[in-house]
């Protein structure tokens, strides 16, 4: 029954993605700026060449027939070829997506590692010095611009302490063959432990930059919903029954307190999967965010269209995951 519901929700994502694709298609074409002019740059080109190129890319057709052409390609499972980058869109996005997913997972890990204990402890010792430190720390975390924090980490850990690399995904001497695009998995597939450790080191600073902000948001939510849960009657009942305090906190209070936290985390993960252009630029991380933002500036229509569709599907998927998690945390909730 639940599987059917999940399948139904997944199918519902398709019209959403298509609708978003049409909107993206139209908006992009109403933006001023000509991809052919941007692509050819400054150097001497005849009008004839410009016209020929525009024809080659179907940009001389009316918008309606461009749209039909786009969906025709989509039905054949083709996303087209980038106007600017001399590569198919699927290979561009397919190349960048694993880097973004890897960073997102590491970020979630860092965020949970910080937010869970911090949120729980500050709820338990509400009003104490610990709680106050956490609250102001969280405020700092939320308001810190990521480019500043990222550069600070680079200066501290790479330039001064020489503990971690400044940027990139792996050292050039340890670069292994690409199978999955996930550096941690590829290095393990190659059986190269040194490369795996090196890739892990490269992940630390960008994951920390994104994770601290994420953790700050999450810790505040966990703290407040924990405080609320700790005052609920079922917690008092559990304590009255003589359940050990640790079990009360983890099983009775935390489990219920996690529902709002999962909602917030879901939204954040959806955003992270879109890639963070700033962090990807600072850490020379070849992810989706950088690809999309640069494609928008270059008016690389096909790449942006595909990315927007991907974003829509990601959000629907993450929301579905959040809903499923609700039912796990509280079986009374149904899909």
């Amino acid at each position: 029954m639940r599987l059917l519901k999940i399948l139904e929700r997944m199918l519902a994502a398709i019209p959403v993605a298509l609708g978003v694709a049409v909107l993206a298609f139209l908006f992009l074409r109403f933006l001023p700026g000509d991809p052919v002019q941007i692509m050819l740059g400054d150097t001497k080109v005849s009008q004839q060449q410009v016209t020929a190129l525009r024809h080659e890319l179907n940009l001389d057709e009316p918008i309606g027939s461009q749209l039909v052409h786009f969906f025709g390609q989509l039905l054949h499972g083709q996303l087209g070829t980038s106007i600017i980058k001399d590569q198919s869109v699927s290979s561009l996005i397919g190349g960048a997506l694993p880097a973004t997913i890897e960073l997102t997972l590491a970020t979630v890990f860092v965020a949970l590692l910080i937010a869970l204990p911090v949120g729980i402890l500050s709820a338990l010792y509400q009003g104490s010095w610990l709680d106050r430190v956490v609250l102001s720390g969280a405020l700092l975390g939320v308001s810190m611009p990521s480019f500043w924090f990222g550069l600070l980490l680079i200066l501290l850990f790479a330039v001064e302490a020489h503990l971690l690399p400044t940027s990139g995904r792996i050292s050039p001497t340890l670069l292994v063959e690409r199978h999955t695009g996930f550096m941690l998995i590829d290095t393990l597939l190659a059986g190269n432990v040194r490369a795996f450790v090196d890739a892990l080191k490269h992940l630390v600073l960008p994951a920390l930059t994104l994770g601290v902000v994420f953790a700050a948001v999450l810790a505040r939510v966990i703290r407040s919903s924990m405080i609320e849960a700790l005052h609920r009657q079922y917690v008092t009942t559990a304590r009255a029954k003589g359940v050990r305090e640790r079990v009360v906190i983890i099983k009775h209070a935390l489990r219920n307190a996690l529902i709002p936290a999962v909602t917030v985390a879901g939204l954040q993960v959806g955003e992270l999967l879109g890639g963070n252009m700033i962090v990807e630029t600072i850490f020379a991380w070849p992810g989706v965010g950088r690809l999309v933002v640069n494609s928008i500036f270059a008016r690389d229509y096909v790449v942006v269209q595909a990315a927007v569709m991907l974003y829509a599907i990601t959000y629907v998927g993450v929301n579905l995951l959040v809903d499923v998690l609700y039912t796990v945390l509280n079986p009374r909730i149904v899909l």
Partner: protein, 504 residues
Amino acid sequence: MRRWKWLVILVLVLLVGAASAKKLSFVLDTTANRADEAQAIAAQLQKIGVDVQVRVWKSGVLSAAIKAGSRQAYTTDWGSAYFDPFDLGIPKLTTGGRGNYSFYSNAQVDKDFKIASTTTSDAPRAAAYEDAQQQVFKDAPWIFGYVLKNIEASSTAVQGWGPAADNSESLVGASVQGGNSLVVGMRTDQIITFDPAMYRDRDTEAVLRNMFDSLVTHTLAGKVVPQLATSWTKVNDKTYDFTLHSGVTFQNGDPLTAADVVFTFSRILTPGAVNGQTSPRAGLLGPIDHVEALDATHVRFVYKEPFPESLLLQALVHFQIVPKAYMEKVGVEGFKKAPIGSGPFQYERGSLDSQIVLKRYDGYWGGPAKLSQIVFRMMPEPSTRVAALLSGEVQIIQAVPPDLVSRLQSTSSVSVKTAEGTRAYQIELNNKVAPFNDVRVRQALNYAVDWNSILKNIYHGYGQRLATAFLPSGFGYDSSLKPYPYDPAKAKELLKQAGYDVNN
């Protein structure tokens, strides 16, 4: 009755005020990277009584609005691939030119440019360019600006390398004390392709020129010298013959012959020749007709119209020769996965958007390179590049922002090096509509901007004033022409003549 009197007086006062307060006012459009500069200029103009409103745009959007003719004044820049005004002055200032965003038109200048791009001997070309500079200087279609230096930095252990005016990072002669590999921190987030027919940007070229050789190449200072061609002769105004080095091999062992050269150029010149796509590079060669092989080591370039030798040579620097047999065997897609050239370094592994690892090609015709491995790492954020150089992860970095130079100069293990830039920065004015259809107003603005203070304070002295739209590194540059001096009094006088009110 009383009320009426007051109203009449008020109206009169307003009318008189409006008539006398005919101030020059306009909107200056800019993009985020030059917003500080635009604000500084606005403040300078404000001092003499010109009202300037700065508006910051996204570059693609702004250039569309400029081309539509709907803007008044805008910061622009234009790069030159040649050390010749052929692709700077000509597209920017010819009537109807592709880059003529100021809508400037002067029949004499058009005539000069026609001579310069179709005459094959140097003296009349230089004379034509010089005349064009004089004309353009007088007409002042833009607020003429500056050229910035290319600032790059390297570890002091690196030898045999220097930044080039055309941003190429030639590493064939480079060595590193105590090591045999080197990493370059590139300014871009990704290069476009490994197919030498399918890119237009300089960053891709910087990598490719280490993997592929061309018929000729530039020295760091921009002089054309032989590479795969040993010599060339001008047969007539439209025909040039090149003799190839013998004994050159591609990295797969195949010999390089005239057939490879012809193949390289015909896939660029023939529409749709690259898997149905057309190369964006054809325009760089000018009005060329075709390229043909005379025998195994001789190639002929045939033009439709007379074309200067120096322009052809400068263009050929940017065309990397590809192996015909290999490309036909593996196809374009296969070639992009495993590119083969005749250059000193050979593709080993990596990807376009993160890092590219090249290894030495031991059979290189010019003798093997000193380094056994070079790496190009894509590092779009300047602060990260600087950090990586300081931490020792990379040995060379491109595009050091002027404000970070002092940080690097205070470190003894790092040295900062500069090369002449080839990009002109200026403020273009829409010459077609008021107020900038009046030459006095345009000249006045040229006198009213204190560029030296802007170059000093914003670009930390890494810029050089330009008298017109011509670069000092280009052919036919008239060094006797001095830039408009900063002279607010002269500017005010010209504005008054044009009928505007100025501050005293």
